[in-house]
């Protein structure tokens, strides 16, 4: 059964690029526009990996990860955080919250695919 990935970003075009790349590699992909939206999509299905932006309206990425880790089913789910280069402080905060993997924007779809496969093969 294909692995499921949730892509969280307020930019719909970025979500599209990522999901096209991941779908092409054989993953099932769901999209969410912010942290709140994402939390709602976690329930009712098994998500194997989350790709999330940091800066988003309504609920930012780090708060979202903190909330997600409170859900028993998502305590150990891998998360890839997307960030721009000079966000070292955010990165430390995010890692403490349980998001170890970080990717710097902009990235190429291939790089995203490779990062995802290291954590979870389709």
């Amino acid at each position: 059964m294909a692995k499921t990935i949730l892509v969280v970003d307020d930019s719909s075009s970025l979500r599209q690029v990522v999901s096209i790349a991941l779908k092409g590699a054989g993953y099932d992909v769901f999209e969410a526009a912010d942290g709140k939206d994402a939390l709602s999509k976690l329930t009712g299905q098994k998500v194997h990996l989350v790709v999330s932006d940091v800066n988003m309206p309504n609920m930012d990425g780090i708060t979202f990860v903190k909330e997600m880790r409170k859900l028993p089913a998502y305590k150990f789910t891998p998360v890839i955080m997307l960030t721009t280069e000079n966000q070292e402080a955010k990165k430390a905060e995010g890692q403490a919250a349980g998001a170890k993997a970080w990717m710097v924007k902009p990235f190429k779809p291939d790089q995203m695919l490779m990062a995802v496969s290291k954590l979870c093969l389709p």
Binding site: K75, G98, L119, L121
Partner: protein
């Protein structure tokens, strides 16, 4: 992209390397187990192959690869050094030269060369076939600094165990809490290679009661087969890199690949860590950790002590193989050494040097003009200033000329091969003895002396040295000696080609000369004159024309070549004991120390080097000398040459007295009678036009400070003129000539 300058550099470099290779091969003949020579030969082939590859000269690469493979086996001691190896290698060296030349001239390889290449490849493969591939370990064992052969075809299949990477992985306790699943990385690892063997290390697992189910206690030892680079493999674990301990030990083959890369890196001044990262042996992350450790270690543990070298830290941390670090260190040192070397010597375009010499020539002439004016004006301050100027110009001249000076050694070394090949061909055992290889002479002379020397050497081997049986029968050592020597002698360079052969056969020479109508049958010739007949055009004593010498281009060509360099040849021969040919050459072709002499209104220049002394000729002695044609010089007969008469000049000789300049050239001495002596002069030689090339006794011209032109006297030519007169009119001096012959002969015995 214009590669032309790089190409030219490659051709020059290849030439140099091939010469070194040849010398080393010949050296190996006498010392077959000389490691350094073997390494030198290997290096030469390796470098040529490598560089040719960069330019895409595939023919050169393919052929040189076979040569290199053979050399590799020789170096590992799998193939012993013997004539069976050296012979083909020498031929291979020639063939590589032919291949490179073909590329340089953008021409096709001649059919003959192509055939030679095919045959040689067969021979090389045959030699390689006899010694089956069994290297592998040899590559680490080799001395540092010796380039290793790329191991693309070896290693992988002949040693299965060592073809794998080894990963030693210990996950941090918190990885799972961070959302990282150890298994996911191992799965991904499986996508970039094959996990040959995996062993789970559970040593860190606590007793069940203390076990935290959310913590990770596992470690893995993994044998991994992959073409991926070390950085790629490390990248698999990028998200957990900071939380785990990871050692990546490259496969054996990879280590030698790193060594190769390190050695092939451009000669930039790099830090050791950078070198290792560039080679792929070390990842940047590993380097940063190593540097942090180095910094941390020196901060806390031993604040006063010296910092541990980075290489040691990295080896200790298991980040990199010690051999690789050594190679990198050697490389680093090489770069530094080369830098130092570059500072010591510098390649200059020969044309630029010639332009400089030309300018210095003009400077010398101009400064002579200044001196002339300052003398006329008799202004003390001006004369002092011009003296200083003159001295500096002299120094500049000497320095500039010394730039053109090169050692003759390289030219001599070429003959090692010639002597070796020719003596085999002739079935004679000949040893070449070189002396004075460090003697320096003008670059142009060195370049142009090669052909005449080649002729003389071949001649000596072919005609001079007897067959071994004849030598033994005459009680001489079976092994003949051929001596090539160079030395400075009174402002010129004397190059000697001497053999210990049978000497010139004067009867035969005379007979042949008469046969060919070179001398009349009733001619009375001295031994010296007979000897000199071998330089006559069209002369050859060879009864059979051999492959080597006596092809019709005779010794007269040699003489002409040497005379074109303003040099002379002399022969000394002793029946049964050998022949010695001395080539006397001027030190430089551009500027000489001259001595000005005046006849009437004309001024002439004699090279200072040939002048022995000057004497006054006046009173009774003058009239006696006039009548006899020679001067009694402290009991010795000195033939005189009146320059005024020799050149058929107008005007009367001075009434009161004349001057005699005694010149010596080789073994002859003559007094040149002139009106006045005018002192030394820096003489910039200007060649005479073609129209005057047949002039005897004059070799060139120069411009004096006054702007007047003075002719430079050619002493050898003058001596011939003097000798002619002397032979005809003064039998007494001829007798002395014979004595001189005997004296030189007795010197030769010693």
């Amino acid at each position: 992209m214009n590669l032309e300058p790089a190409l030219q550099a490659f051709f020059a470099e290849a030439d140099e390397l091939l010469t070194r290779m040849e010398e080393a091969l010949l050296g190996l003949e006498s010392v077959p187990d000389d490691r350094e020579l073997i390494d030198e030969i290997f290096r030469a082939a390796h470098t040529i192959k490598g560089t040719a590859g960069v330019f895409g000269f595939d023919d050169v690469v393919h052929f040189t690869h076979e040569v290199e493979s053979l050399l590799d086996r020789v170096r590992d001691g799998q193939i012993a050094v013997s004539a069976a190896v050296i012979g083909p290698l020498l031929r291979s060296k020639d063939h590589i030269g032919a291949l490179v030349r073909a590329v340089a001239e953008k021409s096709e390889l001649s059919g003959q060369d192509r055939a030679e290449g095919d045959e040689l490849t067969g021979v090389l493969l045959g030699l390689l076939g006899k010694a089956p591939a069994a290297r592998g370990d040899s590559l680490v064992a080799q001395a540092p600094g010796v380039p290793a052969e790329p191991v693309s075809d070896a290693g992988d299949d002949d040693c299965a165990g060592s073809g794998n990477w080894h990963l030693s992985l210990r996950f941090g306790v918190d990885v799972m809490r961070g959302g990282m699943d150890p298994l996911s990385f191992l799965r991904y690892l499986g996508t970039i290679g094959e996990i040959v063997h995996l062993h789970t290390v559970a040593d860190a697992l606590p007793p069940w009661l203390e076990l935290d189910p959310e913590a990770c206690y596992l470690g893995f030892e993994i044998d991994f087969l992959s073409d991926a680079s070390k950085a790629d493999i490390e990248g698999v674990f990028e998200f957990v890199r900071d939380d785990c301990v990871l050692h990546i030990i490259p496969p054996y083959a990879k280590v030698s690949a790193y060594l190769d890369v390190i050695r092939a890196l451009p000669e930039d001044d790099l830090m050791i860590g950078e070198l290792l990262v560039l080679s792929g042996a070390l990842t940047r992350a590993e380097l940063e950790r190593g540097l942090a450790q180095q910094k941390g270690g020196s901060d806390s543990e031993a604040p006063a002590g010296p910092t541990a070298p980075l290489g040691e830290i990295l080896v200790e941390a298991g980040a990199v193989n010690a051999g690789v670090v050594d190679a990198a260190l050697v490389k680093q040192k090489q770069v530094k050494d080369n830098k130092a070397q570059e500072a010591r010597s510098l390649r200059i375009d020969a044309d630029k040097l010639d332009q400089l010499i030309e300018l210095v020539g003009e400077l010398v002439i101009a400064s002579a003009g200044v001196q002339n004016i300052s003398q006329t004006l008799a202004n003390i301050q001006l004369s002092e200033a011009s003296e200083v100027l003159l001295r500096l110009v002299d120094d500049v001249r000497d320095q500039a000329l010394s730039l053109r000076m090169v050692q003759i050694g390289a030219t001599f070394q070429r003959f090692q091969r010639v002597v070796r090949d020719v003596s085999r061909e002739l079935g004679k055992d000949i040893e070449l003895v070189i002396s004075g290889a460090e003697t320096e002479l003008d670059k142009t002379v060195v370049e142009r002396i090669g052909d005449p020397l080649m002729h003389l050497v071949r001649n000596a081997m072919d005609h001079g040295i007897e067959q071994t049986e004849v030598r033994v029968a005459n009680g001489k050592p079976a092994r003949a000696r051929l001596m090539l020597g160079a030395q400075h002698e009174a402002g010129s360079i004397v190059i000697t080609v001497a053999d210990d052969g049978g000497g010139l056969n004067r009867d035969k020479i005379l007979r042949k000369a008469i046969e060919r109508g070179l001398v009349s049958e009733d001619a009375q010739l001295t031994e010296r004159e007979i000897d000199r007949l071998i330089f006559a055009p069209g002369f050859s004593t060879a009864d059979q024309i051999s492959n080597l010498s006596g092809r019709g281009v005779g010794m007269d060509v040699v003489r002409r070549d040497i005379e074109a360099l303003r040099g002379t040849v002399e022969i000394d021969t002793q029946p049964g004991r050998g022949t010695s040919l001395s080539i006397r050459l001027p030190l430089t072709l551009a500027i000489i120390d001259g001595f000005l002499i005046g006849v009437g209104t004309a001024t002439f220049v004699l090279p200072v080097g040939v002048i022995v002394e000057c004497v006054e000729l006046a009173g009774e002695e003058r009239s006696a000398a006039r009548a006899r044609g020679y001067l009694d010089m402290r009991g010795e007969v000195l033939p005189l040459l009146w320059l005024r008469e020799a050149f058929d000049m107008q005007g009367e000789s001075p009434t009161r007295r004349e001057n005699v300049v005694v010149v010596q050239f080789g073994q002859s001495r003559v007094g040149i009678v002139v009106d006045q002596l005018m002192g030394e002069h820096q003489t910039v030689i200007r060649p005479l036009g073609k129209l005057f090339s047949a002039l005897r006794g004059v070799s060139g011209s120069t411009i004096l400070g006054t702007g007047e032109i003075a002719l430079i006297l050619d002493v050898a030519g003058l001596l011939q003129i003097a000798g002619r007169n002397e032979l005809v009119s003064h039998p007494a001096t001829r007798a002395r000539g014979v004595e001189a012959d005997e004296r030189s002969a007795s010197l030769n015995v010693q």
